[in-house]
Amino acid sequence: MKLLEVRDLRVAFPTADGVVRAVRGVSFSVEAGRTLGIVGESGSGKSVSTQTLMGLTPGAQVSGEAWFDGQDLLAMPERQMRRVRGAQIGMIFQDPLSSLHPHYKVGWQIVEMIREHEPDTGKAAARKRAVEMLGLVGIPQPDRRVDDYPHQFSGGMRQRAMIAMALALHPKLIIADEPTTALDATVQMQILDLMRRLQREFDTALIMITHDLGVIADMADDVLVMYGGREAEVAGRRTLYYRPHHPYTVGLLESVPSAPGVGGRLKPIPGQPPSLINLPSGCVFHPRCEYVMERCRVDEPPLREVVATEPAPGEEPAGALPGGDLPRVDLRRDGTHRSACWLPHTAVGLDAGVAAARRAASEAADAGAGAAEDADGAEPEGGER
């Protein structure tokens, strides 16, 4: 049973310069106790999507459905939505210093939330719970630190306090929006460890929004790669890492230091994320894509299932690690791996062979444009949605 199921979410903001189409039809779901990672650059729509679910994007034009525990969050009246916020869905934001109110004590801010949702809880009882939560997230001497102001905490401690606040009412879902981006690398690992531990302890579902694929590798069960307000690729974590299909995902993986499949130099993705007011025609990624075909400039590719052929015996699978350690890749066609790209849906992976196959496919498609229109004609139907 899915805890949260989002269908065809669209979010637009009317501005003086035109309509900003921040999210253009995104669907995803999370199950209890599991983690969905949402990856993308700034402006890919990843934060807007989740904040819209919480009703935190004033002035937005929203359509779609978001079923949470049997109720549509997007159709919920404000009063009812307030009972969901904080109590059933907790949020953790990027910058813990600016996300905590500078004028109030950390403990007070946690107590305030507990008492808002449970008015019968006395001040002393709520405070006791705040102290417990602060202790649980690893803040030393929580009974003393509960009366500190946010600026008296270090960066990592502030984020621990934010986590304590998000978990205080044992929500079923936590949305963490770049929770480690503003932190030191060493602190990042501690915070991620903490979140993993607490997630297991409380059996909470987690949506982890990040631009850091390292965080995804540590945390996520399933991954949604967003680009220009849409899904670029959806896959299980291992599949995404070893057998990516979408050139954008490949680009993201290759631009990560010490990513699998790259030897020495980092390979940045050229160009800039698209303007959400004037979106490129066809596939929104085509201006930055190295395998761009004629078709990509015209038609927007739908999200379709990726089916890679099983490697022949003795042949090295497409997603082999440089060290020769063969990854165990699930090749079953279960509809979990989908990609929005016109390239043949058999070309998955990160090695040079796959890159050559992609290039050949894109050149063949352009050369025979009109005659053999579909570059991915070999791909079975059924992945369509």
């Binding site: 904040q51 919480m54 935190l56 307030r82 009972r83 969901v84 916020r85 904080g86 109590a87 907790g90 949020m91 934001f93 910058d95 600016s98 996300s99 905590l100 109110h101 500078p102 004028h103 109030y104 305030e112 939330m113 808002e116 949702h117 102001y149 600026h151 008296q152 934010m162 606040m165």
Partner: protein, 314 residues
């Protein structure tokens, strides 16, 4: 906290010293012919010399300055050339009237400005906001006497001549206190309320865009609580700063309102003293106003530390 206050106090003393010294130089050295004021146009040369001697004006500048500072330290602002009464006592009475005027008005303009500012910010670009913006423009562009006279006119069109004697100068402040003060309060507050509306609106719009406001909403708090408890609390900082400055400086500059409503305040005293050249009184008023500004700012600084815990510790 104690060290913070002491540091601020010392700073205030420094400001007062700078003000007094520059006033001394301007008034006594550059433009000082009090013997003409005191002796009148027909005084003989001997009389004038005697007056200068009695006032100590024939002594070296350094000695005069030392005496001046010494008297000032004891709260002695000198004696009026015209009335021959201690300046401190003359100012004391007037200061009370002006303080009542300014403080009463300050309650009105602070409450009104903040309230309209918050409503305007939370309904940005709505009808109420546009109306408030218009109100701000009108308030900012109206001179004090227009507002005062307008208020009087509106009152008399209701009361007739019965009300007018309330605003004739003379009777002590305690007589018909509320009836006499409410109109000057409104008139003075009207001039400032616009500025506070604009200030609160801007500050509030900034704060409502902050991350911690998003956190407050994500916690499931009611909009009212988000706006007032979380938003307004943080948005008050610049408003409080401005408030301290305004209350302090207004003590010396409510002349027009005082004149219109027949109040015997500091402002009127300044005008009278400048007209007749009563230097000690002018000096005294300048010092008194400087003291008010310093005290008001000190109170603001202390108020800050209650408002913002980050100031308290740094």
């Amino acid at each position: 906290m104690i060290r913070f206050i002491i540091r601020r106090l010392l700073f205030g003393v420094l400001v007062l010293w700078l003000v007094s010294t520059s006033v001394f130089l301007c008034v006594f050295v550059a433009a000082g012919h009090p013997e003409q004021v005191i002796g009148g146009p027909r005084a003989t040369t001997e009389t004038r010399a005697l007056i200068r001697h009695n006032l100590g004006l024939d002594e070296p500048l350094a000695v005069q300055y030392a005496r001046f500072l010494g008297r000032l330290a004891q709260g002695d602002l000198g004696t009026s050339y015209i009335y021959q009464t201690p300046v401190a006592r003359m100012i004391g009475d007037r200061l009370q009237t002006t303080a009542v005027l300014v403080l009463g008005a300050s309650v009105l303009w602070l409450a009104g400005g903040v309230l309209i500012g918050v409503l305007s910010a939370t309904r940005a670009r709505g009808l109420a906001d546009r109306f408030a913006t218009l109100f701000v423009l009108v308030g900012l562009s109206m001179p004090a006497f227009v507002v005062g006279l307008l208020a009087l006119f509106l009152l008399f069109s209701k009361l007739g001549d019965a009300g007018i004697h309330l605003f004739e100068p003379g009777p002590p402040l305690q007589e018909h206190f509320w009836k006499r003060m409410i109109l000057p309060w409104i008139a003075l507050a009207f001039l400032l309320i616009a500025g506070y509306t604009r200030l609160t609106r801007g500050s509030m719009l900034d704060v409502l865009g902050e991350d911690y406001i998003r956190t407050a909403r994500a916690k499931g708090l009611s909009e009212r609580r988000v706006v007032y408890r979380h938003g307004l609390r943080a948005a008050m900082t610049p408003v409080v700063t401005q408030f301290g400055v305004d209350v302090g400086t207004l003590i010396g500059s409510t002349i027009v309102t005082e004149k219109v409503f027949g109040l015997q305040g500091v402002g009127q005293l300044v005008v009278q003293s400048i007209t007749v050249g009563d230097t000690p009184v002018i000096l005294g008023v300048v010092m008194a106003v400087a003291l008010c500004v310093v005290v008001a700012n000190l109170l603001v600084d202390i108020g800050y530390s209650f408002l913002d815990p980050r100031v308290r510790l740094s």
